[in-house]
Symmetry: C2
């Protein structure tokens, strides 16, 4: 049994407490300053209002100003804040994180830093104390939080800098329904995890296009179009993974294809995509229909958009390699028109082997 602290009581951090509690660990779930309502509800009757489930009795909720108390003697810290909260979390964790305790990040994203992209484990590590000697690992893969919270089969990769860290951590995390595979491709996995929400916006667009189109004789939908956008998304993810030094295998396994698949089955990015497909400009759709919701795909576009533009201008990116990503960045960041750049898709199909 280990003492495990989860920082961030949103959907993913909280869902993660379920396999940990089932494994008999002492689990402290610490809300951020934005999670006060959730923590209150958990303290009252263990009900998580966003997951819509009761968490196990052994999960102990804490308020954000109780992080130090929760962290005392912790064997493992789980970072469950969203990417915008990473710097805040690093600042709060730094004075209280035991120097040997590994950190497992659920937080995902890429950080644009001028004309360079950085992966979040590197961003975090640079903000932790210089004498911190623990491992910074990540969990990635197709995980709808609410499904994990009710113990549906969920399969992830745990990416650790070395295999010995993997073995001990995986032993703490695995259950009969939570399947954890090892991975060492930190760069490739992070790129996949960050970009899947952005690309799921484009797949979501199809449902809006379908609603806005005249009915056809056999009443069929537009799955061929969704699938083409799915493949182009994966193709552009492959370009980014390769360009940043990741491994191709991550593209077609859980971090890439698996996570993109689950993200396309529904959720906030898909709902936003529908508005875009109906022709509503991004800023209007966000303000009118989804003003209260964090849209990870759009956040990613805002975060990396200027860096992608800068890299393309400097010749650090093939200007033809990312037509779909750049179309989405243009739609989100500049209320650009909905335009599928067919003639630039799959550009390197022939004879790129």
């Amino acid at each position: 049994m280990a003492k495990i602290v989860i920082l961030g009581a949103g959907m993913m951090g909280s869902a993660f407490s379920v396999p940990l509690a089932d494994n008999g660990h002492a689990v402290c779930l610490v809300g951020t300053h934005l999670d006060a309502g959730i923590v209150d509800s958990l303290l009252r009757d263990r009900f998580h209002p966003r997951l819509k489930v009761h968490l196990p009795e052994t999960v102990q909720p804490y308020a954000h100003d109780e992080l130090g108390e929760a962290m005392r003697g912790a064997d493992l810290a789980i970072l469950g804040v969203n990417s915008a909260g990473l710097d805040w979390a690093a600042e709060k964790l730094s004075p209280v994180l035991p120097l040997h305790a590994p950190v497992v990040m659920l937080t995902k994203g890429l950080r644009g830093e001028g004309d360079k992209l950085n992966i979040l484990p590197n961003v975090l590590r640079a903000r932790l104390p210089s004498d911190y000697v623990g491992q910074v690992c990540t969990i990635r893969g197709p995980s709808i939080a609410g499904e994990l919270a009710v113990r549906r089969h969920t399969s992830v990769v745990l990416t650790c800098p070395d295999q010995s860290a993997f073995n001990s951590l995986a032993g703490w995390l695995r259950t009969s329904y939570y399947h954890v595979w090892p991975n060492t491709d930190l760069v490739g996995v992070e790129v996949c995890a960050a970009l899947k929400n952005l690309f799921s916006l484009s797949v979501g667009i199809v449902s809006g296009l379908l609603e806005g189109s005249p009915e056809v004789e056999n009443r069929l939908g537009m799955h061929n179009l969704s699938a083409a956008l799915f493949a182009e998304a994966l193709c552009e993810i492959a370009y980014m993974v390769t360009m940043m030094g990741g491994h191709q295998r991550s593209i077609w396994t859980l971090p890439g294809a698996g996570d993109l698949y689950v993200t396309c089955q529904g959720g906030r990015n898909i709902r936003m995509g529908r508005w875009l497909g109906l022709g509503v400009p991004y800023s209007e759709a966000k303000a009118r229909y989804m003003s209260e919701e964090t849209l990870e795909g759009a956040e990613t576009a805002f975060t990396i958009g200027p860096t992608i533009d800068a890299m393309a201008q400097q010749g650090a990116l093939d200007p033809n390699a990312l037509p779909l990503m750049r179309a989405i960045i243009n739609i989100v960041c500049r209320d650009g028109p909905l335009h599928i750049p067919w003639d630039r898709f799959f550009r390197s199909e022939f004879p790129s082997h």
Copy 2:
């Protein structure tokens, strides 16, 4: 304008007539001996009873015994029969196919030949006359036939032995909604096309498992499980592509990820998967619920199952590389139990780069 003959008036062959007709070609749609009812309906009022659309007026239907007449002076032959009809089609085509006319195969599958697997373009070429000098090409990618028939955006790769053949053929085929990309990876593309139906059975199983499971507190589904099976499927397709000498790029573009994605959105294999997920043995589900339907995924299991077993026994396959494929072969060919071999998935995740 070209004279183009499609052999096979099923869903895919017939749908393919629509972009060809829109491009102004003279299109002859020749039914097989199994398509008599379809040809009759087309001759009556151009209505295709399985696509549930009216075909363009310029598509000329022919009965199977009129193939020779239809083929006279043809510039291009399209093979739209299913894989079980390939030998029949080769026999009928051989005496009437102009020696320079390319053949574009819509027919997909792999052929088990003892302890070897063969791709269908090779099977066809070996059965054509020795003095035939045309190109044998294939069209692959996410194409629900009924969507193509109503001019929904559809994206495919046209795989040709050389690029000059691609350029002329693509010019004949492309429309504003039919997007055709070049590819030269004949082996990789064929492996992807053949295996996606087999693996879609496993993704379909999830809907049956869900129906047969107790309801959960937040009423969520099992998308995490579907996504894991999707990723494992792609991982095993990647193994087969690599093992047979294909190129990895085909895995994450239209032939692999794109086509697997669209196949998982519905259709006969997904419906059969549901019965399997509900615990009905394959032979019973086929006989009771889908006796009239061709199940391409199951056909593939029957066709390649013995060869896969033989290759594994001889050490020509890594015995751990294909746990999902072999589970499906066992379910289909031997009414084997429904068992997800979690502990053997993603075996080469660490450190296979």
